[in-house]
Structures are given as C-alpha cells and as structure tokens.
Amino acid sequence: MKNSSKFLISIAVFLGFYYLPIELLPFRNPIFEALALAKWYAREHVLLCLVPAFFIAGAISVFISQAAIIKYFGAKAKKILAYTVASVSGSILAVCSCTVLPLFSGIYKRGAGLGPAIAFLYSGPAINVLAIIFTARVLGWQLGFARAAGAVIFSIVIGFLMHLIFLKEERERHAQGNFAVPEEEPSRPLWKNAIYFSSTIGILIFANWAKPGASDSGLWVKIYQFKWFITAIFGIVLALVLISWFKKDELKKWITSSWEFALQILPLLLLGVLVAGLLLGRVGHEGIIPSRFVEKLVGGNSLFANFFASIFGAFMYFATLTEVPILKGLIGAGMGKGPALALLLAGPALSLPNMLVIRSVIGIKKTVVYVALVVIMAAISGIIFGILVK
C-alpha cells in the first residue's frame, strides 16, 4: 500500500472515532465502553499530544547523531560517564525494543561491559520521549515525572548492582575488540539544534498546559490564561528556525521519520485503547472485568498489590505506549497509584519475549538476577510513591 493511502486511512479512522455518535447506540456494555474510550482518546490526546510528540521523536531520530552518543559506550570509555549516558540516552536512541537489544548486546560484548549495558537496557524503553510525554498527559504529571526519574535512577542502580554481583566474571571476561562508530558530519552547530528542539518541546508543553484546579493559583493559572499566546510564540520561533537553517531535504526526512513513528505506534495504540475499554471500561464505568477484582488485587498500596503489579508488568508484553491506556483503565477501576508506578517501572522494560533474547546474550543466571532486581525495585518504589502521593 502506498504511503499516501495509509495516511488517508489513518485520518479517516481518527475522524471516525472523533465524531463517533456513541450516544445513539442503544446498548451500554463493554463494547460501548471500548468505543467510548477510543473516542475520548481521539478527542483529548491525539491532536495536541500525540501528533507533536511524533514530530519530536522524528526530529530526534533524524537530527541527533546517534554515533556521537554510542562512542561513550566503547570499551575504553570512562565507566562513570558510560553509566550516566546509558541511563539517559534511551530518550534519544530508543523507541522500540528492536533498537534497544542490538545496542545492549553490543555494549555488553564489545563495549563498556555488563553494568552500562544493563543500565541502557533498562532505561531505553522507559525513558523515550513519546512514553514520558504520553504518560504525563494521560496519567498526570506526577506519574510521568516519577516514571522518568525512576527509570534514570533505577537503571544506574540496577546496572551497578549487576556489575558488583558478577564482578569476578566481568574481570575474567575480555571485551572482544571495540565496535566501529560510524562517522557523521554534523550539519549544523549544537546551539541551532538546541533552539530548534526547545521550540518544538515548548509548543508541546504549553499547548497541553492543563486547566488549573480550584486549589491552584498564581503562575499556573496565569500560564493557563496565556497558553495559546505562549504556544504561538514558540510556533513562530520554530517557523523562523525551519525557514532559515534547514535544507528542504532535511525537512522531508523529518516528516518521513515522524510519519514512520506514527505508523508504527498508532495501530497498536488504538488496539490497546479498545482492549482497555473492553476489559476495564472508562473511569466510573465497568468493562468485562469487575472493578472489585482490580481493587482486590492492586487496590491500595499493600506489599502484595505492589509486587503483583510489578511481576505482572515484568512478564506481560506492552507494545510501545499501550501501557498507558491500560494503566488508565486499571487506575479508573481502583488500582492504587503505588502499584501503578510499580507496573510502569517493571512493564515496558521487560517482557517474556525480550527476556528470552536477553538470555541468549548474557545467559540464564544473569537474566534471572536482572529480572529479580527490576521486580523488587519496582515494587519498593511503588510503595514509596504510594505513600508520598497519598
């Protein structure tokens, strides 16, 4: 199928859900809930949040040199630097597990070793821009922030623990030669790129500035009043930057890569929303799974609830971003904030299929230790977060 027809189909599906006349449907049941939820996402989260986020992800993949980052993972790189870069570079390098796994394997076998490799493996899927933006928008900024901060801290701690636990083996193992870093000439100085990225991110943040609650005051309210004005300023800056500093060819690459992200993520995300609606219903409505079950298993902030959420998350496979609507559904049905974070921290980083690939790279023993560390730490952070936000 041609790209243009794929694009038209996506628009048609989006508009279909946007204007879905669900009030006219005679039934009120899980199927109704699934459609109603999809409509809500189409109205609230696609245009202002997902579309700009796709453009940012596309820009990152085209305009930031990946080679420049990979060199920090080399066999001779400083260890502290390798850990630090590994813990944050997921936001730039990784969007799907098919990018994360070859990099992980390369860092482990030919580069900085087990610790930084694990740090990258963990933070990669959790800290990508799309995931953080979407989490903050749909689940609230506390969870979005906790997810990002948790992912960075976790990845360093877990990576370092793995390094210590397998210290002897690591010392005996010799890196099998370094890897080649593909050379690229930067097409524009760093500060120009910085202005470009801050203007796109500015648009995203201020266009989505949430309506202040009754208790909010001061700056938050002021910014909300002027949010379209501020957004417009960033928009003008972006337009000027694009016109004066970018070649036509680069813009085309940017659009293509943003479109590829959208195409890769949207169909699975729609499916995730429909399934979440079907099983869990919207907030205040029930789907197939009764709310009392959810409340019993993962309600409140007990030790059991947190561990259950983190183990469930570790084994379950979530396609990119689908963890968000599923969690929204679970929270609506009575899941506690703590267990929700536990699931967010254990979920996207691990799944049964990716455990199998990890095992083929580092062996069964290290994989088991890694999974155990992630599950335990996710559960503990869940408990702490649950206490803090209460």
Binding site: C98, P102, S360, V361
Partner: protein
Amino acid sequence: MKIQVYGKGCPKCHDLTHNVQEALKEIGKEDKVEHVADINKITEKGIMLTPALVIDDEIVSEGRILSVDDIKKAIMDK
C-alpha cells in the same frame, strides 16, 4: 555478490530490505537479500544500530533506511 540486511525484524528492517530488492531489480541483478536477525551475529559483526546493510561482508550503512538510489550507488561501487 553477498547482500545482507542486519536487524531484529522491526518495520525499519523490512523497509530497508524492500529498498534493497527494489534497487537490485532496477539494476537488473538477481542476487538474493539475506536477513540476519540473530542478535549475537549482529553483535559479532560489530553492528550497534539496526537496520544495517552489509555488502560482501562490509558494513555499508548502520541505523538508517537507505534510499533506493543510495543502495544502487553502493552496489555499483563494489
């Protein structure tokens, strides 16, 4: 000529493979494109970013989907 696409099977890898096939067709060659999905083989080759295009055991590109024209040029240069 040995033409290989390295990658774990994500949509980008399929796009690259598709472009390579297209390029071969336009040149009129009938070489097969081999897909290497084994992660340990990807690492052994020294590839960090997938999808990667390898022609006669030499890495031509990493982490990018080359256009049909670029691939034609790379094949001609061999």
